[in-house]
Symmetry: C2
């Protein structure tokens, strides 16, 4: 597929994202945040402590749990901007879905039903809103994604932030609030254990993580985003495949009486996210999903071996469900019935904390994912 | 106070914020958002329709109402950055409070008790986090503001967004989730009517609205942010007085059995926000709070008459409570007991939708605030 000679390797850090600088602040913030949990007692409530450090924060408010989150799109909008220039059409309908997916797919990991999404659209200046077609695409895509997820779009914030957001750009984020109801749907890993099956749900491509790397690669491709990654499919269009919204699957599982023991949204840090739960367990993968053409292309162009590629990109698996082994096949069927390919991909075993991807001969250890 | 000769006038639009460009998108988004309310029926819930277009979105989830919001700081961080350069210390503890105040002070308008805040800190690059003192000030200020408001800091998002957020800058926002409990605390204006008293709560200064204008003014002052607006108080330091957190007052009112008939957070559009509710009512103000030195200075420097100043800035009133007349004096006392100056400032009357600020001889009509 590659139209260029063997390229120089490009790491994720070279692409401009240095987690070593960000993670200490994240950890300091997490500690300060944890200390505020006691505030809930004044209202007669308490946090679900196991949700600290998980993808969504959960509070016990009595009749059910309350879950909330804010999530950022990241730099995918820059690809949409460039592709709009190259193709003459707006890609912001898909960008809207991506932004909502970032929040929804995190919120559902704890077993929550998303109820309300709020839009955060911070433009580099009032001028951003002059392109009415782009603005309307953003609105239409946002509405449609809310409908797919069965959430109400509550409102939001559309500031013009000249001097903070770059001129002509927009910083997109979404907050989402949901409830875990009944409370037995809570999924924060306490039931996660040896013998569980790991079901992987297909991604549509890069989703919204790894775009810094992809953008750097586009810069050095002679045809840039118009380089074909598959016949008739440009790199740019492939990158802009909207992120899969997984909440229809998790809601259908709940209706079928299947409560995952744990869930992981495969985003930044790629498959290392499968190691997210703090328990010491070994995750053994025997089946690896087919790799979307765009991710194969990125790995090739960046000179990533399997270990590096799977540690950064989703490589075809956008969401992981850890379920009772007896529910594994039905989980796959329910995902497929909702239009999402899925695989019983592995098992949870007693053993040191590590992820063994057998078909690739790759193992990640606890030291590869330090987010707490 | 002014150290410069009579300046050329500067309107809010000249300062770079053109609401005419943003408001059509806001309205299109609000309509699309409104159409998604039906999604809640699939979960057995429904929205509180009267909260559409209000400062926070409210859903009836059965035992109580759920309220949520996302809010942006705006450009105040740019003042903090410049003042850090001029004074050698970080101002981000106050900036953190400002950001939380933007969300909390909106959420409480509907009668909600804020429970969880999520942090959205989008930096222009990983380098932003290298200034550990600044990052720690942000963390410490965020934690303290959460404690003042009795909310748990749930977590958040700290992306590095090079190419979207400008290098060296940070885009700060907060999302907040709360509940209206008991449901009788819901305050969306249905009880608002003639005879109600208007209680105004003091602001600490500019809060986080009008900063674009203030920054433009600083550019043309010979001493910039170091210009004194009061003896020993620089323009920059005065601008950076943290926004008042009003939730301790609204929670204390609830404990005292006072349910406001309506509330308005006085932010963008200044006192025109007092006209926020769609009902046709006349709001007559007989008492105007003292104007903080920094706002007096801005109005003078920008050449604003009272009408323009009060239509843009809070002019000393950061929050308005519309209460039963018999509760007005007690509302003032409860605010004062919580350390916030307050005034019984006016009354609600039958009549066309307008705000009459009698001491200033200024009237705003419905046409002055078109946000729905």
């Amino acid at each position: 597929m590659s139209h260029t000679p063997a390229p120089a390797p490009l790491s994720y850090e070279q692409a401009g994202v240095n987690y070593d600088l960000i993670d200490p602040l994240k950890i300091a913030a997490q500690r300060a945040a944890a200390s505020t949990a006691s505030q809930l007692a004044g209202h007669g409530f308490s946090e679900v402590a196991a949700s600290r450090g998980e993808s969504a924060y959960v509070v016990d408010v009595g009749p059910f749990y309350l879950a909330s989150i804010v999530e950022c799109l990241g730099s995918k909008a820059l690809v949409a901007d460039e592709m709009a220039r190259l193709t003459g059409r707006s890609w912001y309908d898909g960008i809207a879905q991506d932004t909502i997916a970032m929040a929804i797919n995190d919120l559902i990991t704890v077993g929550a039903t998303p109820l309300v999404v709020q839009a955060y659209w911070a433009a580099g200046g009032s001028e951003w809103f002059e392109d009415a077609a782009r603005a309307q695409a953003l609105v239409a895509g946002w509405k449609k994604a809310c409908e797919v997820c069965g959430v109400a779009w509550g409102g939001g914030e559309t500031p013009a932030l000249a001097g903070i957001v770059e001129a002509g750009r927009i910083d997109l984020a979404a907050s989402c609030t949901g409830i875990v109801n009944p409370k037995s749907r809570l999924s924060v890993g306490d039931k996660l254990g040896a013998g569980d099956a790991i079901v992987l749900l297909a991604s549509s491509g890069i989703h919204a993580n790894g775009l810094s790397l992809a953008r750097k690669l586009a810069e050095r491709l002679p045809e840039g985003y118009l380089t074909e990654v598959a016949p008739g499919l440009s790199f740019g269009a492939a990158l802009l495949a909207p992120t899969v919204l997984y909440s229809p699957v998790t809601e259908a599982l709940a209706k079928a009486g299947i409560v995952p023991h744990y869930s992981a949204n495969v985003t930044g840090h790629g498959w290392r996210k499968l190691l997210r739960h703090p328990k010491a367990l070994t995750y053994r993968i025997h089946t690896v999903p087919p790799v979307p053409a765009v991710l194969k292309f990125i790995a090739e162009q960046a000179g990533h071996d399997a270990r590096e590629a799977y540690s950064t990109l989703n490589m075809g698996a956008g969401f992981a469900l850890y379920v009772d082994a007896k529910d594994a096949q039905r989980t796959v069927e329910i995902a497929k019935a909702n239009g999402i390919e899925a695989w019983v991909a592995g098992t949870v075993e007693e053993g040191p904390k590590r992820l063994i991807v057998e078909p690739l001969g790759v193992t990640y250890g606890d030291e590869d994912l330090q987010l707490r």
